[in-house]
């Protein structure tokens, strides 16, 4: 079992050559509140990395810093070899095309149908596709998430689980290399939650993505994680495999896993 920060730094340097995301000494505050304090972690190519932690521990802030929706106060974030803090608007836009972000709320565009929601990023990122290829691609991803019949529905006609699936379809339609999932199973019943977890694994297998999954749902972590990082008070508290966490004697870890 690896424990706190020092071991995670060692792992980060060990896996540097295989890393698609490297974060070093990341700090982020909102006013007086320090949300992230000296976070160091890496995402290895092809793995599902689950980031666990209590609500308010800075999990969502962490992945928003990765796509620069929030600017870090200190630290370095390298994504696919690019330091995101030094990228200009065009460079950032190009890098974002390789990253899929599944928002906690789904963030489907209310005024558009499911088809238009999927077309939106596709027409902007894959500019070389013609109408027929776009249609084929949309149907293919909708079949992958099991909602091919929802093509002409609007978001308000969809259930919570369906919205998450469509949102996932919108994210994978542009073939991202990295997936960032922000609380993918929050607010869903256990059956739908398991379906979403299975979809995350399917996406990893079929599209060969590397993913960071932010969650406080142990069931989801269990189903999807290749490796887990636990955040506490804005720092990496523990890093390891699912079994390491299950066998941990630390009361804080136990309160999650038992």
């Amino acid at each position: 079992m690896n424990t706190p920060q020092t071991n995670s730094i060692e792992n980060a340097s060990k896996n540097r050559d295989k890393s698609v995301i490297e974060i070093k000494n990341l700090k982020k505050s909102f006013g007086d509140q320090e949300v992230l304090q000296n976070i160091t972690l890496n995402l290895i190519k092809g793995e599902n990395l689950v980031v666990l932690g209590k609500s308010g521990s800075g999990k969502s802030v962490l992945i928003k810093c990765i796509v620069r929706l929030l600017n870090p106060d200190e630290g370095v974030i390298n994504v696919l070899g690019e330091n995101i803090s030094t990228l200009n608007t065009k460079g950032l836009s190009t890098l974002r095309q390789k990253i899929g972000f599944l928002f906690q709320s789904g963030a489907l565009y209310d005024s558009m149908t499911v088809k238009q929601n999927l077309e939106f990023p596709l027409r902007r990122i894959k500019k070389n596709l013609n109408d027929k290829e776009i249609e084929t691609k949309i149907i293919e991803v909708l079949e992958n998430v099991g909602l091919a019949d929802a093509l002409h529905k609007i978001p308000s006609q969809l259930s919570g689980g369906m919205r998450k699936r469509i949102s996932l379809a919108r994210t994978i339609v542009v073939d991202p290399m990295i997936m960032l999932y922000d609380e993918p199973t929050t607010g869903l019943d256990p059956i739908t939650s398991d379906e979403i977890s299975a979809l995350i694994n399917k996406v990893q297998e079929k599209y060969k993505t590397s993913s960071i999954i932010i969650t406080h749902d142990i069931r989801c972590a269990h189903n999807t994680a290749n490796r887990i990082i636990m955040l506490k008070d804005g720092e990496v508290y523990m890093e390891g495999k699912v079994a390491d966490f299950e066998n941990a004697t630390d009361p804080f870890i136990q309160s999650f896993f038992q």
């Binding site: 928003k64 836009s93 990253i99 972000f101 928002f103 963030a107 939106f120 990023p121 902007r124």
Partner: protein, 279 residues
């Protein structure tokens, strides 16, 4: 004994007073800093709109959709209000003009007042309510539900897609709505004139437009473009900068209406002063 010492009492009083004054000074400085930050924010927002307006990838399809939303969907409301303003203005003015034996001036007077002032200002205020609040609420809820963030991470510039299209559509559609309201106002006036009198449609309109000159129409059209731009920018700014909670959607919509209405009146005042100087 110490408690009754007048020197210590005075010293304590002076310390408390100076603390109060410094707290007030700090509070005022914070207010001033916040105000300056807000002003800087508005200018930054305007510069981003300006920059994106002239970018190569203009979202033409979304612009047409916004023209439809702003122009066509506001048409029924503007039709009713335009006709009623003309009708009421005629019914209220007629008795006074009859007393002075100047009833033949009625079509011209109504036309000039509608075209120069009443039509543009009232239509702009109605648009500030309907379109400004709509933009504030729509963009505000998009912000709260992370749709704007989703747009940003999917490599789409939200200012270009959401804001520029709405601001340009409002700038172009509101002058058209104002001209339409003016025309319907004069039509309403003709109906009003026929309630107690008998004037033919052709005579009424020829008398009305006989009194309208180029310098009545031109400044009114120019200022209506500014009304449109103000409504679009304020609605988008308030929505785009809404807070994170659902309450902020209501706040964004409400403050968009209030600020847009206020700015419409201020722009009108400036426009009238400029027109007056030029004439």
């Amino acid at each position: 004994m110490k408690e009754n010492n007048p020197v210590l009492k005075a010293k304590g009083f002076a310390t408390r007073q100076s603390l109060r004054i410094s707290e007030k000074t700090i509070a005022k400085k914070t207010d001033a800093n916040n105000y300056l930050a807000d002003v800087a924010d508005v200018f930054l927002f305007l510069s981003r709109i300006f920059k994106e307006t002239f970018s190569r990838d203009f979202e033409f399809k979304e612009f047409l959709r916004q023209c439809f939303q702003i122009g066509y969907k506001t048409l029924p409301l503007i039709s009713i209000i335009g006709a009623i303003i003309g009708l009421v203005l005629t019914i209220q003015s007629r008795p006074v003009l009859v007393n002075f034996g100047a009833v033949t001036m009625l079509p011209g007077m109504v036309a000039v007042s509608l075209i120069r002032e009443m039509g543009p200002v009232i239509t702009a205020l109605i648009c500030a309510g309907k379109i400004g609040s709509g933009m504030g609420a729509e963009l505000g809820s998009m912000k709260v539900t992370e749709q704007i963030d989703a747009m940003e991470v999917s490599s789409t510039n939200p200012i270009r897609f959401l804001v520029v299209t709405r601001v340009i559509a409002a700038t172009l559609m509101i002058p058209l709505l104002i001209l339409y309201a003016d025309a319907l106002g004069i039509f309403g006036s003709w109906i009003g004139a026929n309630i107690k009198g008998d004037v033919s449609f052709v005579l009424f309109f020829s008398q009305a437009f006989g009194h309208v000159h180029f310098m009545d129409l031109f400044p009114a059209v120019i200022k209506s473009f500014f009304f449109g731009a103000v409504i679009g920018v304020v609605g988008c700014y308030k929505g785009y900068n809404a807070g994170r909670g659902t309450e902020s959607v209501g706040v964004a919509a409400n403050s968009a209406v209030v600020l847009a209405s206020l700015l419409v009146i201020i722009v009108d005042m400036i426009a009238v002063q400029i027109t007056d100087m030029l004439m």
